[in-house]
């Protein structure tokens, strides 16, 4: 009933919704997931700070794969196409998603990029997210796994400072390990921090510069590819929607 004067008119009624606010994005992500499954490719959402070495890791991955795997990537970038240019030069078929001022990719942007991607014939499809340790964690893109690149120059306490990003990670790549001899970086401390925010903490140490550890990362990808594990539900009151969608 009317709250201001108690006149009883008009009626104020409670409507129970109890749904994720980003349910539209979730539905679009589910749709992307069926695209990826249909194309038989492993989609990896690669996240990390600006300068964590995401693009360099992908370049090193292409070098290590040496033509054994067909790699594709879309890179989220605020303004430039530099990452896609670098990746194309390394042999990864790439396109840019220019986000303007947006700090993250969402499922709709990835869907659009997927439909305009130059090749459907890929084994692994990397979604290189916008460099940011906060916002990208919130948006499901339809990926099979979340991978976070954390460089040794960022400090061991990053997982504790940005728990949301790391709790959603299936794997953390500790990058630039060739720099460890020049730094006071404690690998055990970062492993301890990860164990406090990431229930199934999983860390691989890599150097894109020397190639160290890239073979293990490639094995991790190939294992995921042969036995893709669907990530558990995002959120606990998750509602799945049947989603009808027409393609032009």
């Amino acid at each position: 009933m009317c709250e201001t004067c108690g006149c009883g008119d008009p009626e104020i009624v409670p409507i129970e919704v109890a749904e994720r606010i980003l349910s539209d994005n979730d539905a679009q992500a589910g749709h992307n997931r069926s695209h990826f499954a249909g194309l038989g490719l492993l989609a990896i959402n690669l996240m990390g700070s600006p300068g964590a070495g995401k693009t360099a890791v992908l370049e090193a991955t292409a070098k290590e794969a040496n033509g054994r795997l067909k790699l594709g990537a879309v890179s989220g970038d605020l303004a430039t196409e530099r990452d896609a240019d670098r990746l194309n030069a390394s042999g990864i078929v790439s396109a840019t998603i220019t986000t303007g001022s947006a700090c993250h990719l969402d499922a709709r942007l990835v869907h659009h990029a997927l439909h305009h991607f130059p090749s459907n014939d890929r084994d692994i499809f990397f979604i290189e997210n916008v460099g940011n340790l906060v916002c990208p964690a919130i948006y499901d893109l339809g990926q099979a796994a979340n991978v976070v690149a954390l460089s040794v120059t960022e400090g061991e306490d990053k997982p504790l400072k940005y728990p949301v990003m790391f709790q959603k990670a299936d794997l953390v790549l500790l990058t630039k390990i060739d720099l460890i001899p020049h730094l006071d970086f404690d690998v055990a401390a970062v492993e301890d921090a990860l164990a406090r925010v990431m229930p199934e903490a999983s860390l691989l140490k890599v150097s894109a510069k020397t190639g160290e550890g890239i073979d293990a990362w490639l094995r991790w990808l190939e294992q995921r590819r042969s036995a893709p594990v669907e990530r558990a539900t995002e959120g606990h009151e998750h509602h799945h929607h049947e989603h009808q969608h027409e393609h032009n």
Binding site: P10, E11, I21, I138, M165, H236
Partner: protein, 115 residues
Amino acid sequence: MHEYSIVASLINRVQQEAAVHGGARVHRLHVKIGELSGVEVDLLKTAFDTFRERTICEGAEMKIDTVAPAWACPSCERTVARGAILRCEACDRPARMIQGDEIILQRIEMEAPNV
């Protein structure tokens, strides 16, 4: 700053509900935000106050319930405290988050003659 995009989704959702129920004016929204959802409550409020203008939510209040994170062992259901190693000592299994990452529109209070 993804809070603006979350508010845009929120207002869209409220508009859909209003259309279904013939609602005219929204008085109050109840949302649930987990402390580990990645959404900053203060930024969400600021974004809502900015974006509600000239929408069905103009003048509406947003009540936010925050949810503290909690983890539990999937086998024995023993809880694991925040900040601890997220593993059940008894069962040696990784703990699962049981709450704390919610971004939920719980309830809308609106003037709706069709309900």
